[in-house]
C-alpha cells in the first residue's frame, strides 16, 4: 500500500502571491514616481542625464557624473553605423525587409549578447582582471599570468579583453583614454594592470588590449562588479544597429546584399527520393 505523500510547504511562494516587492521604486498614483529613493519627476528629471539614470538603474547606485560622461563616450565607441558588424547587419537586414525600427534594433541588441563581442564579454574580461590583480598583489608575474591563460592560435594566450576577432589594434582604447584624461579620471589598479598585460602581449605577440579589456578595467576601478559592467552595457550597440536599420529602411526593399541561388554553396547530400 503506497503512503500518501506529504503536502509540499509552499509558504515561500504563498507569501508573494498577489504582491510585488521592489528594490527600485514604483508609481504611487497622485503622489510620485519613486526611483531608488528619489522622486523621478520631481528630483531626477532635469537633473540627471539619460546615461546617469541608466547607470543608476543598472547598478542601483548613483554614479559620479564624470564616470557617466565616460560611459557615454563608451557607448559612442560601440555605435558604429557599419552593417558588416554582425549585430548591425541584423539591423540592416531588418530595415531592408521592412521590419519596424524597434524590432530591428532589438534584434541587433539581442544578437550582441554572446561570447565573441558585446556586453557579455565584459564579464569574463572583468573576472580575469580581478583575479589577475589579486595574483599580482601576491607577487605573480605578468608572464606567469599569461601562461595560465588558455592557449589560442599560434600559441598566443586567449584572454577576453585582449585581441579582436576582425582586426589587430583598437582605436577605441585610444579614444577612451583621451576622454578619461580629459575628465581627470585616474588610471586605477585594474587599468594599470591591463596596460601592463598589454605591454607584454605587444612585445611577444603584437596583440593589444581591446575595448572590452579597457572598459572592464576602467569600470572595475570605479567600483562596478562584473555583472554590473554587463548590465550597464546592455544597450551599447543600439545606436549603431538603429542607424544600420534606418539606412536600409530608407531605401526600396531588398537592396541589402541580394543573393542569387548560386551565392549559396550547397555542400549537403545529393538528390534522393523520400522513402515511404
Amino acid at each position: 500500500m503506497t503512503s500518501t505523500p506529504n503536502p509540499t510547504d509552499t509558504a515561500y511562494w504563498d507569501r508573494l502571491r498577489g504582491r510585488i516587492e521592489s528594490r527600485t521604486g514604483g508609481w504611487r498614483v497622485g503622489e510620485a514616481v519613486y526611483s531608488h529613493g528619489y522622486s523621478l519627476l520631481g528630483e531626477l528629471v532635469g537633473e540627471l542625464s539619460w546615461v546617469e539614470l541608466f547607470a543608476l538603474y543598472a547598478t542601483g547606485r548613483r554614479q559620479p557624473r564624470p564616470v557617466c560622461r565616460w560611459l557615454e563616450a563608451f557607448f559612442l565607441c560601440m555605435s558604429w553605423p557599419d552593417p558588416r558588424i554582425w549585430c548591425n547587419q541584423i539591423g540592416a537586414l531588418g530595415g531592408s525587409v521592412g521590419t519596424s525600427p524597434v524590432a530591428g534594433t532589438c534584434a541587433g541588441i539581442l544578437a550582441s549578447d554572446g561570447s565573441l563581442y558585446g556586453p557579455r564579454t565584459l564579464i569574463d574580461a572583468a573576472l580575469f582582471l580581478r583575479q589577475a590583480l589579486a595574483q599580482r598583489e601576491r607577487g605573480t608575474t605578468i608572464d606567469a599570468l599569461l601562461r595560465q591563460a588558455r592557449p589560442g592560435g599560434k600559441g598566443k594566450p586567449r584572454i577576453v579583453g585582449f585581441a579582436r576577432p576582425l582586426a589587430s589594434g583598437d582605436a577605441r582604447v585610444d579614444a577612451l583614454e583621451r576622454v578619461r584624461q580629459d575628465l581627470g579620471l585616474p588610471r586605477g589598479p585594474h587599468l594599470q594592470l591591463a596596460f601592463a598585460v598589454e605591454q607584454t602581449l605587444l612585445e611577444k605577440y603584437q596583440e593589444g588590449m581591446n575595448v572590452a579589456g579597457y572598459v572592464a578595467a576602467f569600470l572595475s576601478d570605479h567600483g562596478f562588479q562584473p555583472r554590473e559592467i554587463y548590465q550597464v552595457s546592455t544597450l551599447c550597440v543600439a545606436a549603431g544597429v538603429l542607424a544600420s536599420h534606418r539606412d536600409q529602411a530608407s531605401r526600396p526593399q531588398g537592396r541589402f546584399l541580394p543573393l542569387r541561388c548560386e551565392d549559396i554553396a550547397y555542400t549537403g547530400k545529393g538528390p534522393r527520393e523520400v522513402p515511404e
Binding site: T8, T10, I90, S112, G114, P252, P258, C261
Partner: protein, 272 residues
C-alpha cells in the same frame, strides 16, 4: 474664458480582474502542491491523449481555434507547415540567425533574432483581410482593376494593392505556384485559396504571383484563423528553418561567411 486645467493625476475607477482567465489551458493542481499541475487539458482534451493520438499541427490548430481539425483540415495545415518550413538561407531571417551563429550569440537568442527579422510577417494580417474581402469577387476582374490602378514596382517584392502577392526578384515565383496548386487541390482548400490561385493565374502574363506570406494567408484564412493570428502563425511556420541555419553556423569562425571589404563598401555621407 479661462483655460481648462489638466486633471490631477488619479487612478481611474476601473475594476480589474481578480484572476487571469483562459479558455485554452486547464491545470488541475496536484493534491500535495497547488503550484504543480498533475493533469493538463487543452480546450478540454487531456494533453497526454493528444500527445498519443494526434499530430503537432492538429494540436496547434486546437490551441488557436478551440476545436480539433477534421482530417482534411489537418492535412492542409500539415502540408503548408512543411512547404513553408524554411524561408531559406538567402532570406533575411536565416541570414540574421547565421550572423548570430558566427557572432557566438547566446544560442537561446538565435530564433528570436531570426523571427524579428522575418520578412513580411506583419503583412500576413493584411493579406488575410484582403483575401477575405475579395474571395467572392471575380479574381480576373480584381486583377485587372488593381493592376490598372498601380503596377507593382518591378524591383520590389510587395504590391500594396494586393498584400501577399508580387514578385520574387522581378519574377513570379514558379515554385510557390506549384505548391499553391498542390494545396488548392486538397479537399480542405477553401474560397481564399481557390480565389488566390485564379487571381495569380490572371496576373501571370505580367509576371506577378504568389509571395510566401500570401500563400500562408490564403490557407490560414480558409482554415478559419482570424487575421490577427496571421503574423504569429507565419512565424511558427517558418521557425524550424531559421533555427536550423542559425545552428549550422553556431561557433563557426567568422571567416566562414563572406566579408565585404572596404573596396566594395561605399560611404556616401557628408556632415551637417
Amino acid at each position: 474664458m479661462s483655460k481648462p486645467e489638466r486633471p490631477r493625476e488619479a487612478m481611474r475607477a476601473a475594476r480589474f480582474a481578480e484572476r487571469i482567465s483562459t479558455r485554452i489551458w486547464q491545470e488541475t493542481p496536484s493534491p500535495t502542491n497547488p503550484y504543480v499541475a498533475d493533469e493538463v487539458r487543452c480546450h478540454g482534451y487531456e494533453l497526454r491523449d493528444l500527445m498519443l493520438r494526434r499530430s503537432l499541427p492538429d494540436t496547434v490548430y486546437l490551441l488557436l481555434r478551440g476545436e480539433l481539425p477534421n482530417p482534411e483540415q489537418s492535412r492542409l495545415l500539415e502540408r503548408l507547415s512543411i512547404a513553408l518550413i524554411n524561408p531559406g538561407p538567402r532570406s533575411a531571417a536565416c541570414r540574421a540567425a547565421v550572423a548570430c551563429g558566427v557572432g557566438r550569440t547566446d544560442p537561446a537568442h538565435l530564433l528570436p533574432v531570426g523571427l524579428m527579422t522575418l520578412e513580411q510577417a506583419t503583412e500576413v494580417e493584411a493579406a488575410m483581410r484582403f483575401l477575405r474581402r475579395q474571395r467572392s469577387s471575380d479574381p480576373a476582374a480584381v486583377a485587372a482593376e488593381l493592376h490598372g490602378e498601380s503596377e507593382p514596382d518591378r524591383h520590389q517584392p510587395g504590391w500594396p494593392q494586393a498584400p501577399g502577392f508580387g514578385r520574387n526578384h522581378g519574377s513570379a515565383d514558379p515554385w510557390l505556384a506549384q505548391i499553391a496548386e498542390d494545396l488548392a487541390d486538397l479537399p480542405a482548400a477553401g474560397a481564399c485559396l481557390r480565389w488566390a490561385r485564379d487571381f495569380t493565374t490572371a496576373l501571370s502574363p505580367r509576371d506577378i504571383g504568389w509571395l510566401p506570406h500570401g500563400l500562408a494567408a490564403a490557407v490560414l484564412a480558409d482554415l478559419g484563423f482570424p487575421p490577427r493570428s496571421g503574423p504569429g502563425l507565419y512565424q511558427w511556420l517558418r521557425l524550424p528553418g531559421i533555427l536550423a541555419h542559425g545552428l549550422e553556423y553556431a561557433n563557426k569562425d567568422i571567416t566562414a561567411l563572406p566579408y565585404v571589404d572596404d573596396s566594395h563598401y561605399d560611404i556616401h555621407t557628408e556632415p551637417d
